[in-house]
């Protein structure tokens, strides 16, 4: 086999690294890597190659040799003619695609964890501070398992009469209305949802819905209804019990449980 020229090896390293980052790391191993990050890595690789080929004069000449040959050597006439057509054609197509690219709508940034108000309310009635309010039926879990079960079952009923259209039979945010909503309904089976919040936070999000979200961090396009208009305070607490019972996730608590 003919020995590869230094130029070809550098070319292979460059293309190989790009394929590796774009498709292997960003496809098979992990999620796609942003173009800016890929550009940064590729920049580093180019610098490394440049350093490598310019260490010695002979090395540098060896690197330039194929380029020289292609430009002037008669044996490379065919290569030359192909390149003198291909390079301008590529640039023609590339600049056209950049200029003719149509504008796309701006993305809609959203804050996954909106900050709740300090005071928790139901309609206009104050319940307490967000930090301190606990689910009034949570203590039955230890004190009176039968009563606890009744509350969970009531929560199950409330959920399936109101919530499952969007949040799904399996609480996975994939109800039959869900595919057409933006942002998508919350997925309670996601381990990052329930364990990260206190029950009071859930009460707030359920009671006040999309319109109750804070002005900071807009735009809020959430289709979540204002459930205090439809559900009693107890029903909301019950449905919160059901969410953790069904998924098996524990809500976050601070300090000692009451």
């Amino acid at each position: 086999m003919k020995k590869l020229s230094l130029f070809t090896i550098c070319l292979i390293i460059l293309i190989g690294s790009w394929v590796f980052l774009e498709f292997v790391v960003g496809g098979i191993i992990s999620v796609p890597i942003p173009n800016s990050v890929i550009a940064m890595y590729m920049g580093l690789i180019v610098i490394a190659i440049l350093v490598h080929i310019s260490v010695e004069d002979s090395q540098f000449r060896e690197f330039l040799r194929p380029i020289h040959e292609t430009l002037v050597d008669d044996r490379r006439r065919v290569h030359r003619r192909v390149l003198v057509v291909l390079i301008p054609l590529f640039l023609l197509g590339y600049t056209y695609s950049i200029i003719a690219q149509r504008a796309n709508p701006p993305g809609s940034p959203r804050d996954a964890h909106p900050s709740p108000p300090l005071e928790l309310t139901y309609k206009d009635e104050g319940i307490g501070t967000m930090q301190d309010v606990v689910n009034p039926f949570r203590h039955y879990e230890k004190d009176d398992p039968e009563a606890f079960k009744a509350h969970v079952e009531n929560g199950r009923r409330v959920y399936h009469q109101n919530c499952f259209y969007c949040h799904g039979d399996h609480l996975d945010g994939q109800g039959h209305f869900a595919p057409y909503l933006q942002p998508l309904p919350a997925n309670f089976q996601d381990p990052g949802i329930i364990p990260n919040f206190q029950e009071s936070f859930f009460f707030w999000r359920i009671a006040k819905g999309g319109p109750g979200l804070p002005a900071a961090g807009t735009p809020w396009d959430s289709a979540m209804p204002i459930w205090e208009d439809h559900l009693t305070k107890d029903e909301i607490w019950d449905v919160i019990l059901f969410l953790s019972e069904y998924t098996g996730y524990q809500f976050r608590t601070f300090g000692e449980a009451h």
Binding site: L91, L92, T95
Partner: protein
Amino acid sequence: MRIRTIALLLTVFGMLVVFNSAYAQNAPEASEKGKEVYENSCAHCHGVEGRGDGSAAENLLPKPRDFTRGLYKIRSTEAGQLPTDQDLFDIITEGMPGSSMPGWETALTANDRWEVVAYIKTFYDGFKENENPPKQITLEGKIPYSEQSVEIGKELYVELGCVECHGNVGRGDGTSAPTLTDSWGFQTWPANLTQGWNYRGGFDTEDIFKRFIGGIAGSPMPAFEGDSFLNFGLTAEESKRLIELENKDEMTEAEEEESGQFYEKMDTAVDIALSIKEGAEMSTTQMQTYNDAMKVVYEKSWHLANYVKSLMPEERPEPAIGNNVLRSQYVQGELPAFDDAAWETFEARYFPLVGQVVIEPRQFNPTIDGVHVKSFYNDTEVVFLFVWDDRTHTTGDETDETTQKPLEDALAVQFPVKVPQGPTAPKPYFLWGGRLPVYLWHWKASTPDQVTELTAKGINNAETQEAQGELQVQSAYTDGQYKLWVKRTLKTDDKKDLQLEPGVFVPIAFSVWDGSNADVDTKLTMTSWYTFTLEPVPSSRRFVYPPIIAILSVGLLFGLRAFVQRRNTEDV
């Protein structure tokens, strides 16, 4: 060595296939595990006792299945038969599109799903009593899809009476569509055959074929079997001839005799079919007559299935999200009129609808799937074409029982009054605005040539604008489909109107009312915010810069060559 390895692999593979198919055929014995999974995942709709009366059932239509009567819609088995275990397993796995039954493939393990199949069967004694496995529909003799077959199917669609429920072109808008009820007395709508993605049991030609032969148990859709199939016992040609004779005002004596013979033939075949259904023993000749007759039914069903398949797009239209936004196309001069052929050149954007469940009265069971939208604009005006399927043309002749308001079909297109500037600027509340107002075009079926402009700060806080008449409107209802054409100038003098200019991304949303689904006031079907833009005319720079760059690059290459050549000579 290599041959032995291959043989070994083949054996293992073969065993896996055999094991899998054997495993797939039958559910295990009903167990406590099945009960537990059922009660945790299914009972809220289907009820603890399988009566289809769980807590969610009240607000659902189609209703969750009542398992106590052994009526299953989606089966691979012949008319009147129970489903196979595999049928039940598949429905649980894949769910039923167009209804609230989700697929459980990711939520339940295969084992759990089999346990549920076994448990569901305990709700109906028929599964225990039937010792013979249900008879499956044979798919042999499939007639491949071809234009010719579609043509035959199209004729059969009329001949067999499909039109009466499913309508002229299959949008579920037949004359008897609004009167249908299922075996439990609940209202049910015939399928819109042009929306394959909503077929409960899939929309492959084979799926459609199975629904014909097996019927959709519990629904008004009949199975194609001996005692109900049109002209059962006649060949396709004989059947055509008989229809021709029956349509004559007066028959000659010879014709009377001919048709008499046909009726005799049919009577014989139907009698045999009925006897077979009752389980009677048949002679070989009788079986031959029956099999010949069923062969005709099967053939016709394949043609009809091919026709139905031809009615739907390959896939559900992509919702207009992400970069797939509605882009109004620029045209020079006059904008296309209502029935201009230019509309055909625009690929519509699709806006799927969901029920409005935020404000009472709410709509949990929408009947309108979505709105297709096209748009063109020129230097001064913009025109839209809104197209949506609705099975009935309701124009306010009937009133709603609770509100006493007239029931009618309607559509509202919603824009913000002011376009939010930048991605973090708030949009008005998607449901007819709130703190920030929205601007609406409200069209009603009772006044089809008129669109009212509204300003709203909430769905119960809308007012009709004083300045009207800025919109030109035309509409039509044909074969279960509304078409609404609206034209407006880009700029108006009214400060409450949205002002339009090219290149700006404008939020757009829709509200649709189906009068026959008791949609009135806030009981409606809607979308949240989508995006629309007047697509700017592409810059002519795209024809200038690229050639310049290409020419420069050629020059650069030659320059480089000259440079290297000169240096080479100097070196020498």
